[in-house]
Every structure is written in C-alpha cells, then in structure tokens.
C-alpha cells in the first residue's frame, strides 16, 4: 500500500492542542491508537465520518485537517 493522496495536518494540530497524544486523539475519535498512527503517516485514508470526528476533536473544519492533491493522480493534469 503506497502513501495516500489524502494528506493531513494531524501531527501539527496535535502539537498546537497542548501536545495532545495519539492515544488522547484516538480516545476522542473513538478509534485505536494504531489507526491514528496509520492516518497520521498517510497509510490509511479514514472514512468521512472518522475524518469529521478527528476534525471535531481539534475543533477545526475538516479541510484544516485533511487535504486532497488531485495533481498526484496519474494522468490527471490540474
């Protein structure tokens, strides 16, 4: 599995939220710490619901946490 085309700022957001730990974020989002690690390292793209729950945990909009880079898709020119 390669890197996801969905990138995120979770690490930065955690840092700016009183250095929230991965476990704390996992508890707030209702997932395991391993899932947060996989999302943070862009190995796993979360469902829309989980993405919203993560954004809610930081009290920010979804697009402030996740971004999508369509130019990275093969054969698609932006």
């Amino acid at each position: 599995m390669g890197k996801s085309r969905v990138s995120n700022n979770i690490r930065t957001l955690r840092f700016h939220n009183e250095e929230m730990t991965q476990q704390q974020l996992a508890d707030k989002a209702g997932v395991t710490r391993q899932t947060i690690i996989a999302i943070e390292s862009a190995k796993y793209s979360p469902s829309l619901e989980l993405a919203f729950r993560i954004a809610l945990a930081f009290n920010v909009k979804l697009e402030e946490v996740f971004s999508f880079s369509p130019e990275e898709i093969e054969g698609v020119k932006s």
Binding site: G30, V31, T32, Q34, T35, S41, K43, Y44
Partner: protein, 153 residues
C-alpha cells in the same frame, strides 16, 4: 520481529499458531486412524465429507479457546485489566481484505479439486486439495492480516 507489537498483531499471531496446531493435530489423528484401519468400512466419499465438515467447527472452537487464552494471558502479562482495544473501521477493513484473500485461496483450491475430478484422478486427491485449501485460506488470511497491521494498512 520488532519489540512493540500491537494487540492486533499479537492476536493475529496467536490465531495463526492456533490454526497451524489444530490442522496439524487433526491431520495426525486422521493419519493414525487411517493406519489403524479405522476408515476401511467407510465409503470414501462420505469419509471425505465428514473429515472436511468436522474441521470447520473444530477450527471455530479452537479460535474461541485461543481468544479466551489470549485474553487471560494478556491480563496476566499486564497484571490487571487487559484493556482490549475497540474494533474500529481500520480493523474491519483489514478483516475484509484478509477475508478476500482467504476466499481467493479457497476458490483456487476448489477449482483445482474440481479439475482433479474432471481429469478422473482419485477422489482422495480432490479431498486433499479441498482440505489443503481450507488450511491455506485460514493461514493465508492470517498472514495477510498480520502484514496489513504491520505496515499500517
């Protein structure tokens, strides 16, 4: 093997070991019974069906026992609440992907078994292939699951 294995990785390894053990023991029992001549009076088609049908509930029971032992073992290791992590969407996705692999392996074994019958090979070959594909699909899905957990997804 890295030192920090997650709960899911440990559980997957326990399941793989349990599968290998149950198939080994079951095969050994069947082999000893065969050597004793216990199967001489049973029709081969019926014998094959019984052998394959028996391995499925055995496998389910073995998995339940493994899960109980694993939870007890973990509780002892952490000296208290085993704190079993919740199953989230990534776990379900990994399970679906590994089940797909199990399905492919079993399908391959099934087609080979049907092929062997079409070629008029002995019935035992078809049953060996079916038995082998059941084992292979179980182990294959376990290994795939472990691999998915190891690399993240």
């Amino acid at each position: 093997m890295e030192k920090n294995m997650s709960y899911q990785e440990r559980k997957t390894i326990a399941m793989i070991v349990s599968s290998v053990l149950i198939y080994l023991v079951y095969s050994l029992v069947l082999f000893l019974k065969y050597q004793n001549g216990d199967f001489l009076n049973i029709e081969p088609l019926r014998l094959g069906a019984v052998i394959i049908l028996l391995v499925i509930p055995l496998q389910i029971v073995a998995k339940i026992i493994t899960m109980i032992l694993f939870t007890i073992g973990r509780a002892i290791a952490v000296q208290g609440d085993p704190d079993i992590p919740i199953e989230d969407e990534r776990d379900k996705s990994i399970e679906e992907k590994s089940m797909k692999i199990a399905f492919y392996i079993f399908s391959a074994g099934f087609f080979l078994a049907m092929g062997s019958l079409a070629l008029a090979w002995p019935l035992s070959v078809a049953f060996f292939l079916l038995f082998g594909s059941l084992f292979g699909s179980d182990i294959g899905s376990g290994i795939a699951q472990f691999r998915y957990y190891r690399r993240g997804f």
